[in-house]
Amino acid sequence: MQDQPTSSPGSALTPIPTPAGTLFREFRIQAVPYIAFAMVVGITAWLWQGYVGPATWVGEVESVRGVVSSMGPGRLAHVQVDALQRVTAGQVLARVITVEPRILEAQISLSKARIDLIRVGSDSELRKQNSRVNLEGLRLDWMSKRVDWLSAKARSAYRQLELARLEKLRSGVTNGGSASPLPVLSQNDLDISRRDAAVEEAAVVELEQLVAKIGASIQQLTASRLEGQDSPSTSAAIDVESKNLDLLESQMMPIDLVAPFDGVVSVVHRWSGETIQAGEPILTVSQEKPSRVVSFIRQPIQVQTQPGMKVEVRARGGKREIGVGEVLRVGSQLEPISPSLLPRTSGMPAGGNSGGSTIENGLPVLVSLPANLTLYPGEVVDLRVVTP
């Protein structure tokens, strides 16, 4: 039933009712744009708070890295760690053989020849003193066995390197960790190599025991022998060769490369079997837990910092966590800012090319890392002064 107009002089007519659909349409057209605008303003403000920060003071969590290298040239015998593996300070990471086993074997052969020469020269004299204990002869035998032992060790080391290489070939794994589809070595060849390596190893052990036994006998005889019984020239020659054998033994010992501090192996530069030069990086070890932030105040410098100031440190990743650190030290001059800390448009040449090669200087400031923040070394953070 429709309402009728109540037309009476001097009074307004009763307005007809407005349907809900029309009211909603009016709301949609009149009010929704303002509501939508306000909502977007709210969302933008929320995003802004989390995203936009003053880029005037930027920093990077300090990354402490140690490069492990060999003091001398040689061949990398065995890298015992892999990338991203945790290591402790002093842990042996790799071994370096400073002398090539074949060269060492040649030097040992030379030494053996010299010992034989001494032995021939001393035979006539020794025969004259056959009633006494033949100490020089025993020493010569001992040195001869030491030579054999060193020779066996060199061969064994060479066999071990070969065996490691052949095992890799058999498993089809390359140095980079990638696997080839088919092995390039038969199991039979690998078994032969393993057998040879075992034989050499057994020979080393036997000779080592023999050398130790003869060495002990010499020590007993040396303690009881009389002065002046030995020929001076023979004795001096034996001493020379003995020292030479000591040198060969020391060269035989591999150089252990150890971790400089607790951390993680971040890069493996060289792999087992590779030839290296002195000082060449073999492994890079990174400290696991950073302790401070290396930051730069960009120009124009509007923040005057001094040690002890409280600083808000805000992560750029994840939930943009915030912590409070403290200024540890302030630089005395402006220094180049790491490009990773600058906005992507910063340093862009006038031509619009994205090279970004222009260097920007800033004031370096060291800031302690807040304990509540979980940041990785190298992570970029924003900083702001909280209290002076």
């Binding site: 429709q2 007519l13 007809i16 009712p17 349907p19 029309t22 057209i29 933008t44 995003l47 995203y51």
Partner: protein, 230 residues
């Protein structure tokens, strides 16, 4: 990897884009465009007012923000976009500004997808679609809306016209006397009203009441579409 990772971390272009930054840019562009449009609506004078142009002011801001996010610092991509737009524009006459924004939106989202910035493409497309639906749903940009154009002859003295106004107010949320032509010697005038009805389904009732109203004659009505503007 879950679906959100697939969508939000799907940019494989030259550099991984920060999607929250891109979204922030798009929203700021929307707000700025909105303000510009409101200012235009408030300040515009003359007969050339167009609702689609007002909508374009908002959408263009968003699309340009998307374009800049896609070809950030990349001069080659900028030239590529110009070339694509030129090819499209060369064989098409786009009379409506809003149509141009659709072309631009298609090009920019296509470029984002083509440069392997998949997340940016999805985000940009979603924001563009939401903005367009919002503008359509709210009829944004309409300044003067009327449901009915009413022409009648008022045969009584003009100082009695407020009585007619009372009747119109009964049916209209808003009415505007658009034109008034007074006769030379006789009393009364030809009047034209633009009316926003309280209930559009009862427009006939208004006409009937007007015909029965003393002094009113020659009543004709014309239903106005929602988009009819002054």
């Amino acid at each position: 990897m879950n679906l959100s990772d697939l969508i939000l971390r799907g940019d494989f272009g030259t550099a991984q884009d920060d999607l929250s930054g891109i979204l922030l840019g798009l929203l700021i562009a929307f707000l700025c465009g909105h303000v510009v449009a409101w200012v235009y609506m408030a300040c515009h004078s003359g007969l050339s007012y167009s609702r689609s142009f007002v909508n374009s002011l908002i959408v263009l801001c968003v699309i340009v923000a998307l374009v800049m996010a896609v070809m950030f610092n990349n001069l080659l991509m900028a030239f590529g976009m110009m070339a694509v737009f030129a090819v499209v524009r060369f064989r098409n006459i786009l009379r409506d500004t809003l149509d141009t924004t659709y072309i631009l939106a298609s090009i920019s989202t296509g470029m984002a997808a083509g440069t392997r910035k998949f997340s940016t493409a999805i985000l940009g497309c979603l924001v563009f679609a939401l903005v367009m639906l919002y503008l359509h749903w709210t009829s944004f940009g309409v300044r003067h809306r009327y449901d009915l154009i009413l022409n009648l002859h008022w045969g009584r003295p003009l100082d009695e016209l407020p009585r007619l106004g009372d009747l119109l107010d009964r049916h209209a949320r808003r009415n505007q006397l658009a034109s008034q032509r007074a006769g030379g010697t006789s009393d009364g005038a030809d009047l034209s009203y633009r009316i926003l009805l309280r209930d559009a389904s009862r427009a006939g009732e208004l006409v009937s009441e007007l015909k029965a109203f003393p002094g009113v004659s020659r009543v004709t009505s014309l239903k106005a579409e929602e988009e009819s503007e002054m």
